[in-house]
Symmetry: C2
Subunit: 399 residues, 2 copies
Amino acid sequence: MPSISQKGLHMPASPIRKLVPYSEEAKKKGRKVYHLNIGQPDIPTTELALQAIRNFDQKVIEYSHSAGTISYRKKLTEYYKKHNIHITLEQIIVCTGGSEAILIGLQTCLDPGDQIIIPEPYYANYNGFSISAGVEVIPIPSFIENGFALPPISEFEKVITPKTKGIMVCNPNNPTGYLYSKEEILVLKDLALKYDLYLFVDEVYREFCYDGKKHFSVMELDGLDENIILFDSVSKRYSACGIRIGCLISKNKAVMATALKFAQARLSPPSIGQVAAEAAVDTPDSYFEEVLKEYHARRDVVVFAINKIPGAFCPVPSGAFYVVARLPISDSDHFCQWLLEDFQYNNETVMCAPATGFYSIPGKGKDEIRISYVLKVEDLRNAMKCLEEALKVYPGRTL
Amino acid sequence: MPSISQKGLHMPASPIRKLVPYSEEAKKKGRKVYHLNIGQPDIPTTELALQAIRNFDQKVIEYSHSAGTISYRKKLTEYYKKHNIHITLEQIIVCTGGSEAILIGLQTCLDPGDQIIIPEPYYANYNGFSISAGVEVIPIPSFIENGFALPPISEFEKVITPKTKGIMVCNPNNPTGYLYSKEEILVLKDLALKYDLYLFVDEVYREFCYDGKKHFSVMELDGLDENIILFDSVSKRYSACGIRIGCLISKNKAVMATALKFAQARLSPPSIGQVAAEAAVDTPDSYFEEVLKEYHARRDVVVFAINKIPGAFCPVPSGAFYVVARLPISDSDHFCQWLLEDFQYNNETVMCAPATGFYSIPGKGKDEIRISYVLKVEDLRNAMKCLEEALKVYPGRTL
């Protein structure tokens, strides 16, 4: 029997999916499970996208241009302009979700053995893409006490080696919800220029900012055109995760020419998804206002409920739709599994993601969980009640 | 300015797209260009798929299961059963086109530096996926004289080393159209067992067999469950290239568990594409009968026309919708570019793919072109007339 690849052996299982068998078991027992483990919003997809799909009238569903249709990329430049991001269509490669954009970006810029620095906790799938590309992730710690703000410049400089080729951040952040300020983005700029590094920035949650704060895009920076690789996706923006449309953006011509070769090898991004995403660009501001109001309320429910629990702590993040909360536990994997296997309150329980899967430094995240606040306020209240009651009786409680 | 990756530098540009700027120029001059360079059929997409898209009534376009929806995978098992391929839904991972299936398959099974043997000429994008995975392609020659039949076992054995981990074939073949016989597949089986190799088989043209011949799938083999990785796609089957739905199939449990981790990292294949592909499984046989009749006629037009040209030779392939033809030329890249830049007949010209892009052994394919017979018979006749007239006046003609 031929062997499996080393990459395959090192590939981590998805931390947000590994408890799925336990939630299935809980449901078989007749329990209601609140799914706060995964970033799948319940918000309706923008109507314009749905209409475009229903009105799809091509007779042959053809490959598109490998970088995406001209019309969609043109439309995207309008979208970005509204966000103070000034690019041409040649600076966009439409990808199959933000996921493919990241994979192509890493393959284009980094060789096996190269290193990228990522503040942790970070989006777990960055590990998967890095393993695929043979790239080594060098984590540096961020801390719950200051809401997971950008680590100081000295923390980056401590780990920079000749193998360091880039820094990657997600802004607003998954899993912490932290929104990097303009000042923090400027710190990253200085680092990128000083050490000649790529700056990979994942801005798929750009729209999701609260408390009146505004997102500052890395593309708004001057003097860093050769270094910036932007990853984006329409999945969260229009609640259309399943159309698998994202993009890679850069003003670095060599990067774009090389990324296009990777894009050509896989022929094209999904055609119908592009039609839907193009229509979605005209989504009225009122859609986002309503969605943001809803998420804002949800965030407040979750943060308030957690901070009311004795021994628990949750910062108040200003972006995305996640929080990482510290609980009075010492083994978040065990706790999340126990919630599904052994706990119920009014025949309900809650599924969260152990934060361990978002850390690479061993031992970190054992007293933290990630919560995706992707359910209605009423459901979130019930879910938080479960969490509160669970912590009263959890045998592994530490405080 | 940070450097581009070595992988990126070695990534070949798409051989079927590199002449696109010249065809654009020709069109600007008012010339009609017959596109025989690319495998984009003009056949209408199966109506059931189009209907399913127009009837799409979900309110939230969600991620699907990373391996594809249960309902689509169930439906796929029915499809395969009709083709004498008996699998369960756990043996299928739905991918974003056959392209992603190949990339995930290689990443799952092979380590950087490992080798796979591929008879050449072969589908050019195998190079791209191999470079992405860090895998080395070892080409062995097949020959136009016998229609590009499977090379003898001795040719494989000549290049097998401790680094050899697999053999890859496409059946029916792109670019040659060759349909491997059951006897040839059995040769591959013997090799895979004797040397403990993976057998990667790309069967995306399964339906496209002519002259009453039947496709023999590698999945019909007994005793090779651990070795076989099948790549498939609905792109050609239903003329739905743009929905980007394919799959990876294997009965090897370790392979499937590992491939699923790669699939989870990219979250899910396109949701609407899966809905369309699921509906398409019920496409009536009459659709395929009509399509096959059409392609059969097209193939005959192309093969007959080429063999009528003095000094040209084209085998009569029994599958797919490509031929590789030998012409009285010594530089097929120059010839194909010349056709677009300098030639016209009745203000028309033809775009073909130089066969050089389908070979890895230096110097091969310089007197060959690949023709995709994806246009209507009347257009193909005109295109072949262009080719015939072009060879009368081409300054680089060798015979």
